[in-house]
Symmetry: C2
């Protein structure tokens, strides 16, 4: 067990560079923990000349990722290039097919091709580790794959995108509009120039597909997930949430229902005293529910070079000490096509914010339409207009009146039907805001 | 890999019984996850005739734990008897020495003999897994041993005793005195008839010694830990904490300082907005800090049959799938005698509650004594006496006046010296209350 584990590293962005530093710094500790050193023997990246604070002369340079994936000297191919397509896909496939182990942070690749890659790893005996793909430095993959496997999971949900959580936290704490917080996040490097992948929930969906597969053995398929982003959330929603004892978070949720596994990403009202509601800023969190168990929550840094590098190195350490676990915790052949629970059958409580037209009968009509769909109300708040408006000479302002409804558990279908009817009745102006409530 | 993993189970209390049920219920899932079944082949417990909802006829009965530990048919000895002495110690030693793996929930045994047992496991090639020994269903052992090993830990701290957290939560939420909450906890089965092991912090110290060893490679030694329980905490302290933005928790803390590893268990003021402050009731939580990383917090059920059984089964599953990791994450030979940082050198902020005698100069004397030790104040609150007292005919009530001080970072030594001087000056009555502050 004294021969070093030989690593070929593909990709020298923030994470790749941090991995090089961390392995150099932790060399002795890793020998103690794994019984042998972990050594980078070759590196491949798009540009060799780009300025980085790494002495590249210490490592053999390989120009082509495919060549590195096939390299006979390496035991592990560490893929930190990103992207669901080539070259990442072809290089990872090649490495696994040649019996090497692979460590990757590539959520997009796993979400798209996870099952096939897992089958390849299984067939050729290599490990396929991806702790860094979800939740940055939070050891959620290992926890689901190995740590909690005695249990019967019923639900897994979490804050999986730091950008969105940063924006929602700033909106609430500093009373800023969505667009202002997004600009601030971009300035701080928390959001991309094109932020839609994050704020529209697609990043969360990719990560959720990985967690759902680990928890429920579902086939990975982000396209099967209902996805709604946070760009429609306003300060009025956050204020109402606060008043009603909730906080708004973008959650990825996978839950076992009688109809199958429901997977969804959307802004969510969570009780203010829940563990997940306390998670502010770029921090991530994942909660796991299982039969007969109180929930388990993991909270930590969801991104950042060091957090992600730390996850990559713990994956390498597992391989170094000979730990081999099936990539998704069970044979790829048993990662069955999900019985997908359709979103219209989703059941839960709803927050609905409407602008009722300021004329007699509006409220009665809204109440009737909801009752017709069997929807019961837990609370109704009609927002007072501001003092200035109330003092207007006309008495009735003529402006629409915000109405906030919290329903008891009902179905997505019922809510949609009731709101369509209300819109047809022309008693509201604009589109109603609908936010699902997730109980802990 | 289709031969079952054969388990001998010693101990049929709440946890042992739950393990039997969980293994029966999860059989198929475990086969999928581990590649082979996990089978209990023999059971040993104090009484065979005691009423339990298990069909004992399905299992071979062994009267003597030592005999079970030596049994040639079993691969794993699951020790759920408890106790740091015999028979647990002798049985676990025997099983490890015969090359079997051991799974145990026995924190007392590990805290006392962990290093010796780890060395035995290492020498004879068996696993020694103890996820259930700390934090019940929270996978903190695996996380420290395998999940985060790329990092340089600087501090680990947590709420490790559900009884104490339940009592402190009830005191705060229902404004009850310590003694009343303790009685309530006993009634609900959260506290033992003799509660001192829990409320005096010794249970937390045993668990902390295990976590500290995993995080820092220290030799296990609960006797080396500074321990203070919660029985001196009053509602006045909780109220003051609330007012100052803190909550009081019994924490176990292990922290790397220049003087060595400081290990301590004591009531602690934690900022109200920290993840750990949100943890109420019997729930446990552990936070890990490492250089260059945001903290990682794990929250979940700290006790209970199912939570603990789930941890035991995940330990068995690791053995079934062939995962072998050094018990404390590094060779036993490298679990070095801790360089113990003495408590009098502890540095941090302090909460001090005094009863100042109601006479001229008391406050000035207190302030001078603190200043002489170089202690700076972050805040001083002199609690108003109630209306009834203020309305007393004498004008000055004659009763001592509660004074609450929050210091900036100072040393344990300085605080003790200052308070000894204040007591000698006879400007306070009773013993000052001192609670350490832990920043996140």
């Amino acid at each position: 067990m004294t021969a070093p584990l030989k690593v070929g590293l593909a990709g020298l962005g923030t994470v790749g560079t941090a991995v090089v530093h961390l392995l150099e710094r932790s060399r002795d500790k890793l020998v103690a923990r794994c019984g042998r050193p972990i050594e980078i023997v070759a590196i491949c990246a798009r540009s060799r000349s780009k300025k980085r604070d790494i002495d590249l002369r210490k490592y053999r340079w390989v120009a082509d990722p495919m060549e590195l994936a096939r390299d006979r000297e390496i035991d592990v191919f560490a893929e930190l290039m990103g992207g669901a397509g080539d070259p990442a896909k072809r290089a990872v496939t090649t490495a696994l097919a040649s019996g090497k182990s692979v460590v990757t942070a590539n959520k997009a690749l796993l979400a798209r091709h996870g099952k096939k890659l897992a089958a390849l790893a299984e067939r050729h005996g290599g490990a396929l580790n991806f702790e860094a793909s979800v939740g940055g430095g939070i050891p959620i993959i290992k926890t689901l794959r190995e740590g909690l496997n005695g249990d019967a999971f019923t639900r897994i949900y979490g804050i999986l995108n730091g950008t969105c959580n940063y924006i929602l936290s700033r909106m609430e704490q500093d009373r800023l509009a969505f667009a202002d917080c997004l600009r601030e996040a971009q300035r701080l490097g928390y959001a991309e120039a094109d932020p839609s992948f994050d704020v529209e929930g697609r990043d969360t969906a990719q990560k959720l597909s990985i967690l759902a597969s680990l928890a429920f053995g579902t086939r990975l398929d982000p396209a099967a997930i209902y996805v709604e982003g946070i760009s429609s959330i306003t300060l009025a929603d956050l204020d109402a949430a606060d008043e009603l004892g909730y906080r708004v978070k973008l959650l990825g949720v996978a839950v076992k229902t009688e109809a199958g596994i429901e997977q969804r990403v959307h802004p969510t009202m969570v009780p203010k005293d829940s563990a997940i509601a306390q998670v502010m800023g770029v921090t991530n969190a994942v909660t796991v529910d299982a039969i007969g168990l109180s929930p388990i929550t993991l909270v930590g840094p969801g991104a950042g070079g060091m957090a992600t590098a730390s996850a990559v190195v713990s994956d390498l350490a597992d391989i170094a000490r000979g730990v081999r676990v099936l990539p998704f915790g069970r044979p790829a052949a048993r990662m069955t096509a999900t019985r997908k629970a359709p979103m219209q059958h989703h059941e839960g409580g709803y927050y609905i914010r409407l602008l009722a037209r300021d004329r007699p009968g509006s409220a009665a009509t809204i109440a009737r339409r909801l009752a017709q769909q069997g929807i019961s109300m837990e609370s109704i708040v009609q927002r007072h207009t501001s003092g200035a408006e109330r003092a207007s000479p006309s008495g009735r302002s003529g402006r629409p009146v915000p109405v906030i409804l919290i329903t008891y558990a009902t179905s997505e279908d019922a809510v949609h039907r009731a709101l369509s009817a209300v819109r047809r009745d022309r008693v509201i102006s604009g589109r109603p805001q609908v936010i699902r409530i997730e109980k802990n």
